[in-house]
Structure formats: structure tokens, C-alpha cells
């Protein structure tokens, strides 16, 4: 067997970080093999790809040592973010850039470009198209096409589908399978069900980058199923396992994380008890509702199977009503809803294609874009004074990109913005902040800069700030996008706990299973109109 890529006794440490990654990893990948590397966030999977390809240390200096290393003779690398992989503005320019660097004569360029596009399933008509007009899935395929023009023996792919919606994910995997049939492929991924049938070998790393499992997919899967769950990997069947375990969860569960014994898969820990300060006034209790959370019951308990709390406010009206509601982006009307209402304690999932107006709806409800028509929240009409729009009281919006809404330089300040109140002492504030950090599994390090968190942690922080603002209506734009399984379940469960406590959740999502398992109703948007409202009976 010829080895395409290999390393012996690899050690690596990022400057300023305390831990040594890999701790003597030895790995060899034969030519033609399709290898998938999995592991928890922070296990160094991407870093390993960068070492094997030579990006570390050639492009970025990171201290590393190894016994021996063999890098591929020729290689290409496809990254995660479709928006940051291109240096030119048009498709043909981008592909030509690769060919120029390979000193391909000009007259040979166009046929090669067409061939590469065909290999990834893109139409040759796209040659003149500006890259920004392509969908995210198409962009990733273009990235793959430009890599193919390097004629690489080995192709590295670093979570190519992480930032793609279901349609884009399907596109990129189809292209990968088609175009990389005969090459060595080393792949890092979290969402593996679409690609696992094509893979020859799974390599599993733990949090320190040490080798935990290595072998054929079936064998690895059978022997290490618990690790798959623990590491939050989206393996085939993960939702079914989750649903099964949720049903099995006892009603009077223990507050906080359960560490006793081999409790299965519960991806993520239950949120710990919410201190009274974070609870809203409980609405009129409907029959069958769990006891008032104020007396210290764990929030996680009421999740599965409890009857939803009162659907209407004290005076019988729905929490939020829209009539002839329009939302504008610039001067164009992007959304028009004739009639819709949301009850208190509902979980509305907003779905639809890209561009259907989902994000616009959230922005409109938060009054961050101009609106027209009737919008009544808690019985009060939200006025339409053009230059004096304010975010209505009780509404909190969580953006898709959590970094966009951080306003402070430390975790403490970020949460204190919403938690502080004149009648609260400094110690009380500090306590509340710590409690909130713990609840969302954020590091107990209030001085840390928000940008110095992992993506999952940033996401949780943005939800935490929304909660801290004591809002009763939470608007979330794709909160689980790009997250591993564990974080996804943790966030959804937290939202469910909040919902059981009386808050209302309106969430834009692409995740079908999240909708079916957690939402109480689904609003399907199409081309700016509300096509359908579907009530969901949750299992």
C-alpha cells in the first residue's frame, strides 16, 4: 500500500494555550482511501488537516513537532465557509486564477474550466456569473471545482457542509462523491449521514486530539456509539435516539447535569434550575400544567409531554397579532401577512426557502425594519412612527451570527447589560451573571472576551443575553445552524424549558427534525407570503 499522507508522533500546541494537542499521534492514510475524521469541537480535527496538508507550518506558524511526516505530492483544500474561499469576483476568473498559477497556456484554460465545472455538477453557463449570485451550495461546489483544477492527488475537506442548508449539503456531497472517486480524500465532518456510506475509514479523536477509534465505519460505529453521542456527531439515527431518550426521561428529574451511571446519550445536560429572578409571571394556569417553577423544580422536566401552558393572555387575547402586516427592506415590500396570531407559550417554527422572508419576519417583529399594518403585542398596538421605531418591550432577537450582537468586551459586561438594575447590588449582579453562565455551560470566567469563545459557546451566549433581558418573546434566527448534535439539543432543550416557563419562542430554522420535535406550530413562508400555518402535535 502506498501511503499518501502520514505523520508519526505528532505534537502541537497553540501559543498561549495550556494544552498539548495530539500528544504523539501517529497516522497513515493510504492512497485512494476515503477517510473521515470525527471528534468533539476542539479536538483539533481542522488543525490535523492543516498539518497533514502543510498549511501548518507553511502558511501559519504554530509550534509543532513530529517524528516523521509525509505530505501529499499534490493536494487541494476545501474549507467550511463558502463566502471566504474566493479571491476573484467571477467564476471564470476564479478558475483561471488556479490555471494561471499552474502556468496552463491560455488556450487550454476554457476546456479545463468547463470540465471542472461538469465534474462538480455545475452548468458551464455559470462561467461568466459573478460568484455572489451563486447559492451557498453552488459556491462550495465551485470551491471544489477550483481545487480539482490543481489536479491534486489528495483532497482535504474541512466540514464543507457545516454552513449549508439541507439543499446545499446534498449538492456538495453529490459533487464530492462524483468528482473525488479516484482520489485520496481526508474529510472532517459533523453531519455524517449523507457521506458515511462512501467512506472507507473513520478516525475518531478525543478532546485532546488523541486517537480513540480507527477502522471501518460499521465497526467503529458499533464499538463507539456512546462516543458518537457524547461528541455531538450527527450520525444517522441521532434524532431517533434523542427522541427515545427524551421520552424515557423521568418527570421528577434531578436538577443540573446527571453524572450518575451510564445514562444514555443525553446529548447536553439539562439546564440547571432557573433562579426566580429569571422567571416571568406565570400566566393563568391551564389544566395539566406542571407546578409553578418558582419553587425550584428543574425546568427540564416539564419539557416532554406536558400540556402547553395557557394559550392566551389574562384577557383571552393571543399574545401577538398581525393583520395586513407588511415589512420592507429598503423600499421593497418583502413580506406580507394577511392575518396571523401567536399564543403565549407557543413555539413557532418559521420555515421556507432562502429568500422567502423568514429573517425579515423576525426583524419586522423586532421593529428593526420598517413595517406597515397592524401589529398588536400584549394588547398594545405597536405604533408605526417612522423615525422613532423601537424594539417593543419584551422582545429579544438573537441573530444568526452571534458575533453581530455582542456589545461588550467581557462575558460579565455582556450579561450585565441586561441583568443590571438599580436595586441590585454588585454582589447580586455577579451572582446572577455566574448563574447564567453556568446555566448555559459557558466558561466560569466572567472576564473573558466574548470573541474568545467557540462558535457553540458564542451561540449560547447570545441566547443567554436574550434571556437576561427578561424578554417574554424570543426571536431566534437559525439558532442551531452549523452546530454539532450536542449543542443543538442543549439549545433546543433550553428553549423548551423557557417555553414551559411561559415564554414564547419564534424560531427560523431549516431543521425539519427540530420543528417536528420541539415546535408547537409551523409557519411556512413562501416568497414573502404566509403560505400555511400548521399545528404540530408533539410526540
Amino acid at each position: 500500500m502506498t501511503v499518501a499522507v502520514g505523520v508519526e508522533q505528532l505534537r502541537l500546541k497553540f501559543p498561549g494555550e495550556p494544552d498539548i494537542l495530539f500528544q504523539g499521534l501517529t497516522l497513515q492514510i493510504p492512497k485512494g482511501q476515503k477517510a473521515l475524521i470525527v471528534g468533539p469541537s476542539g479536538s483539533g480535527k481542522s488543525t490535523l488537516l492543516q498539518v497533514l496538508s502543510g498549511l501548518i507550518p507553511q502558511a501559519v506558524e504554530v509550534p509543532l513537532k513530529y517524528g516523521r511526516i509525509q505530505r501529499p505530492a499534490s493536494w487541494g483544500f476545501v474549507f467550511q465557509d463558502p463566502d471566504t474561499q474566493f479571491c476573484m469576483s467571477r467564476v471564470d476568473e476564479e478558475l483561471a486564477f488556479v490555471l494561471e498559477n499552474r502556468q496552463v497556456p491560455r488556450r487550454d484554460m476554457e476546456p479545463r474550466m468547463r470540465e471542472a465545472l461538469a465534474l462538480v455538477g455545475l452548468s458551464p453557463d455559470l462561467l461568466n456569473a459573478p460568484i455572489r449570485t451563486l447559492s451557498q451550495g453552488m459556491k462550495q461546489r465551485l470551491a471544489l471545482a477550483s481545487v480539482l483544477l490543481l489536479e491534486p492527488e489528495t483532497v482535504f475537506l474541512d466540514e464543507p457542509s457545516a454552513l449549508l442548508d439541507p439543499e446545499g449539503t446534498e449538492q456538495i456531497w453529490t459533487s464530492v462523491k462524483q468528482a473525488l472517486k479516484d482520489r485520496t480524500v481526508i474529510l472532517v465532518e459533523h453531519k455524517i449521514d449523507a457521506i458515511v456510506d462512501w467512506i472507507d475509514r473513520i478516525i475518531m479523536l478525543d478532546e485532546q486530539g488523541r486517537l480513540v477509534a480507527d477502522g471501518e465505519p460499521d465497526a467503529v460505529f458499533r464499538q463507539h456509539k456512546a462516543s458518537f453521542e457524547r461528541y455531538g456527531i450527527w450520525y444517522p439515527g441521532v434524532w431517533d435516539d434523542y427522541a427515545a431518550s427524551a421520552r424515557r426521561r423521568p418527570v421528577s428529574g434531578s436538577p443540573g447535569p446527571s453524572r450518575n451511571g451510564p445514562e444514555p446519550s443525553r446529548a447536553g445536560r439539562k439546564p440547571s434550575v432557573l433562579p426566580p429572578a429569571f422567571l416571568t409571571h406565570s400566566p393563568q394556569a391551564a389544566p395539566g400544567r406542571a407546578p409553578d417553577s418558582r419553587d425550584g423544580t428543574s425546568l427540564g422536566e416539564t419539557a416532554a409531554g406536558a400540556a402547553p401552558p395557557s394559550r392566551t393572555g389574562p384577557d383571552g387575547r393571543p399574545l401577538l397579532e398581525l393583520e395586513q402586516f407588511e415589512a420592507f427592506r429598503g423600499n421593497a415590500c418583502k413580506l406580507r401577512i394577511d392575518r396571523a396570531a401567536v399564543a403565549e407559550g407557543a413555539w413557532v417554527a418559521v420555515t421556507g426557502e432562502n429568500g422567502a422572508g423568514k429573517s425579515t419576519l423576525l426583524l419586522a417583529l423586532a421593529q428593526l425594519v420598517p413595517t406597515a399594518g397592524t401589529y398588536v403585542l400584549r394588547g398594545r398596538t405597536i405604533p408605526e412612527i417612522p423615525n422613532k421605531r423601537r424594539v417593543p418591550e419584551g422582545i429579544a432577537l438573537v441573530f444568526q451570527n452571534p458575533e453581530m450582537q455582542f456589545v461588550a468586551d467581557s462575558l460579565f459586561d455582556e450579561l450585565a447589560v441586561s441583568l443590571a438594575s438599580p436595586d441590585k447590588s454588585r454582589e447580586e449582579l455577579a451572582d446572577d451573571v455566574r448563574r447564567l453562565l453556568g446555566m448555559f455551560h459557558l466558561p466560569d470566567d466572567p472576564g473573558r472576551h466574548p470573541y474568545h469563545l467557540s462558535w457553540g459557546q458564542k451561540r449560547r451566549l447570545s441566547v443567554a443575553t436574550a434571556l437576561a433581558s427578561r424578554a417574554s418573546v424570543l426571536l431566534l434566527d437559525e439558532p442551531t445552524f452549523g452546530q454539532d448534535a450536542r449543542n443543538t439539543f442543549a439549545i433546543l432543550e433550553c428553549l423548551e424549558a423557557l417555553r414551559a416557563d411561559g415564554k414564547t419562542v419564534i424560531m427560523v430554522t431549516h431543521d425539519r427534525r427540530a420543528v417536528d420535535h420541539f415546535a408547537t406550530e409551523e409557519w411556512v413562508l413562501q416568497q414573502g407570503r404566509l403560505k400555511e400555518v400548521r399545528q404540530i402535535r408533539r410526540t
Binding site: 502541537l12 500546541k13 501559543p15 498539548i20 507553511q58 502558511a59 504554530v62 509550534p63 513537532k65 472576551h449
Partner: protein, 188 residues
């Protein structure tokens, strides 16, 4: 330059370009206040010296100050200010670079950065003499360039230093600074 990686080149040029854009706006502002504060406006001149020292404080590698300054000047020249701007950028960047070199590239505090700015200011003075912009009486020269020197220190020392400090808090700098040999030893 053998320690330079691809990312180093990119980051340096990016810094240069960002400042090139800022300098364009600053130029408009500078022109605008000319009738109002013809002499005192030298206190704002320091912005043009900021690129090089900022890049060095950020990346701490030899050559960044010069390259960033030239890149920034290159952008300004490209937008339409002509080749002369490029000469200024080169000389000012070189002056800052030489000062950092005099400290063996090991000092990264406000004082050193400010001094680098003062050196750039000196460079700009020499060029002004050459191009005929310093055709003034001795006392007027002292006022004009004295103010400019103060401005240089404030912009390249104080401002640049604190902006880089703020960036350090976000940890983006850990990957672009040179790695000390101790870090490698920890791997044994």
C-alpha cells in the same frame, strides 16, 4: 524575511489597505480644516504615520512597518494622489522600521512606537524640504514640525498602542505573532 509566512504578508497588506482608506478620509478632513486651523492642524498630521508602527505593534515582525506603510501609500497613490505619496510612504515607513530595528525588534511599548512615529515625522520633514513644502522662516518651521512631532507621538504611540491592546483581548493576535522558542520546547 525568511521567517515570513503567507499570512504575515496578507495581514500586513490588509493593515496597509485599511489605513490607506482611512488616510483618504483623513485627507479630506485635513483639507477641510485648513482655512480654519492652518497651523494647528499639524496636530492631526500624525494619522499618516500610524500605519507602519501599528502593523509592527500588531505583528511584531521585522519588515511589517515598512511593508504596511508602502502598501497604505500605494493605495493612496492608486486612488489618485500620485507617486509622490508613495515616496512619502516609503521614507516614513523606512524611518519607523529603522527605529524598531535599533531596538532589535524586541520592544513593543508606547515609547518605542511613539519614537518610531517621531522618526517618520523626521522623514516627512526631510521630504518636505526636498519638495519645497518647508519654505518657511526658522521659527515657523519649529512651530509646524514641533506640532507635527507631538501629533506623531500621540497617534503612533498612544492610539496605535491602545488599539492593538484592544485587539489582543480578542485573541486574534496570538496566531500572527512570532512564536518563541520556549513554545517549541514545551512539546518535548
Amino acid at each position: 524575511m525568511k521567517q515570513w509566512k503567507f499570512t504575515d504578508v496578507l495581514v500586513t497588506i490588509m493593515v496597509g489597505i485599511v489605513f490607506g482608506v482611512i488616510m483618504k478620509f483623513w485627507d479630506d478632513f485635513y483639507t477641510f480644516i485648513k482655512p480654519i486651523l492652518p497651523t494647528l492642524r499639524q496636530l492631526f498630521y500624525g494619522m499618516w504615520f500610524m500605519v507602519g508602527p501599528f502593523a509592527f505593534l500588531l505583528m511584531r515582525k521585522p519588515g511589517t512597518a515598512l511593508l504596511a506603510s508602502v502598501a497604505g501609500a500605494g493605495l493612496s497613490a492608486f486612488i489618485g494622489h500620485g507617486v509622490q505619496v508613495l515616496v512619502y510612504g516609503f521614507v516614513q515607513g523606512l524611518a519607523a522600521e529603522l527605529l524598531f530595528a535599533a531596538f532589535r525588534y524586541k520592544r513593543h511599548n508606547i515609547l518605542v512606537a511613539g519614537l518610531a512615529g517621531v522618526m517618520s515625522c523626521l522623514g516627512s520633514f526631510l521630504l518636505d524640504l526636498y519638495y519645497g513644502y518647508a519654505d518657511l522662516e526658522a521659527w515657523a518651521l519649529a512651530v509646524k514640525y514641533g506640532l507635527r512631532t507631538i501629533s506623531a507621538f500621540v497617534f503612533t504611540g498612544v492610539f496605535a498602542y491602545y488599539i492593538v491592546k484592544a485587539l489582543e483581548a480578542t485573541k486574534v493576535t496570538s496566531l500572527i505573532r512570532p512564536v518563541s522558542p520556549e513554545e517549541y520546547e514545551k512539546l518535548d
